[in-house]
Symmetry: C2
Subunit: 339 residues, 2 copies
Amino acid sequence: MIHILIDCFGGDHSPKANVDGALMALDKLPDLYVILTGDEATLQNALKGKAYDAARLEIVHAPEVIGCDERPIDVIRLKKESSMIKAVRLLRDRDDLNAMVSTGSTGALVAAALTRIGRVKGVIRPAFCPILPTMDGGLVGICDSGANVEVTPEHLRQFAIMASLYMEQVYGIATPRVALLNVGKEAEKGDEIRQKAYILLSETPEINFVGNMESRDLLSGRYDVVVCDGFSGNVLVKTTEGTALELLKKLKKDIYSRGIYKLGALLMKRMFAEEKAFMNYQNYGGSVLLGTSKTVVKGHGSSKAVAVEKCIEQAYRMEVSALSSKMEEIIMRYEHYEY
Amino acid sequence: MIHILIDCFGGDHSPKANVDGALMALDKLPDLYVILTGDEATLQNALKGKAYDAARLEIVHAPEVIGCDERPIDVIRLKKESSMIKAVRLLRDRDDLNAMVSTGSTGALVAAALTRIGRVKGVIRPAFCPILPTMDGGLVGICDSGANVEVTPEHLRQFAIMASLYMEQVYGIATPRVALLNVGKEAEKGDEIRQKAYILLSETPEINFVGNMESRDLLSGRYDVVVCDGFSGNVLVKTTEGTALELLKKLKKDIYSRGIYKLGALLMKRMFAEEKAFMNYQNYGGSVLLGTSKTVVKGHGSSKAVAVEKCIEQAYRMEVSALSSKMEEIIMRYEHYEY
């Protein structure tokens, strides 16, 4: 039985989306057991009248609410009875629990997971790995994307190993093509960290390193994993999402500016709906924290039930594929490099 | 008279676009004098039959050709008789020359300019500043975007001062809103460099610092200048361009997949042409190097005559507005911070 904690608050559609997503996952995965955290009465209410296997569902009462503008550090210290921090603490303390899923604040979740949950043996720094859809219908994982604003070449190698295993085990991509984010293709581009990382990655036969990637090629479909420091990874992911959203918004505004455009758009209605779904990043599952001893999946704040269900499946597949022990096995081969 | 060198080779449409752009600028700006560099016979040929004021145009023969894959360092050392390096050397050596425009390799141009042309007094590091269109019809300058992969907080302040003056003097934006690229809005976000830069920028009354910007807000129209290290600035600009281009490509492909979509798109033909022009970054002029003692403008490699003309106007306006001396004046107030 795989035990997964679901933080039921903090998302735009919480707790309904989180509860419904959990029930969908229970229905789909017969050996899944879910623990919902949050205000018990509210959760009982959300479950009322729904059909589900009660023997595989448990509620843990967590009455505190996290405000929008609270700093991660304050959340961890002061909101121990919030649905998120309660879930993190249970994950840390109970050996029978495998993973957690949250749609709450990324900053608080990453900080809480990094400080409260242990690391896979050999892992220097866990890293955050969102995925984006590529233009050929594939996916690309970006690691790190916010957990570590400063990195060393050895961190980057570990990110490459972890993300490569993740894309392979969870998304079924055989020998993922791993690239290093840089300002040019040539090996000598970038700062010293990038130059050294290029060499380290080339000397790591466990990954399929294909060289430097320039950011304009992120969505080209030529890469399965992009390795970067958390600062530029954050810029890479947020700029992609921001540009796509702003362009769609502009398109919509322009369509409404003239009758003939509205008519044209009517004929293309299905296509535009498909483009919108394509660019809706919650359709691709959540972002995972790689390298923590237990699995943590962060769903988009705007996640609806289907997206929450996808995050639960993601966590489930990470556990079933024993990702952590595979990571440990490879990372420990390079342990002599540590520090 | 403003004397501007035009490197006539190295672009996708060179030398025709460069020569025609120069003639358009001559026509528009009565006190402009242009010096074209490149193979003399080819340039004479490109000028044949054209009407222009021959008293304000000069050709300097530069027969060597720069290959696509040549490393910047080799270009500077070995291709002294190429149209680009010849122009850089003339700019350095001749006091009567004010500026240069090139559509050749960015890497070679930036490296040549940084090593061969002096800096404005007080400037620690010149920075590269491309501009992007925002969704409300405005523009945003991104500084630095590739000249310096590593920076200090003091560099970032200088970038802010230089880019702010540039947007004000060349694009007529009153008190440009300056933001610091970061992974979150709060002052304490990012690494030590960002945290210190936040404080320095807040303490610089000559600029209108409005706080941190997350990369997803780049095109929102809420900022006129974004200050960043050259690595993440490069990621920011290239990701925006890459995402926009990939999305347009996908849209086009999807339109051609069904007859009804093609029909719809036909009704929206003018709108799509406008979107395409909006996202065509060569319509917004070139990227300038800020902080060099003489003006260097880099046009897109794909520049046609109109885009080259825009770059020449940009260089012209920078000279006419005496940007360098205004920069020097403000930067020297903070000179005691240097190193």
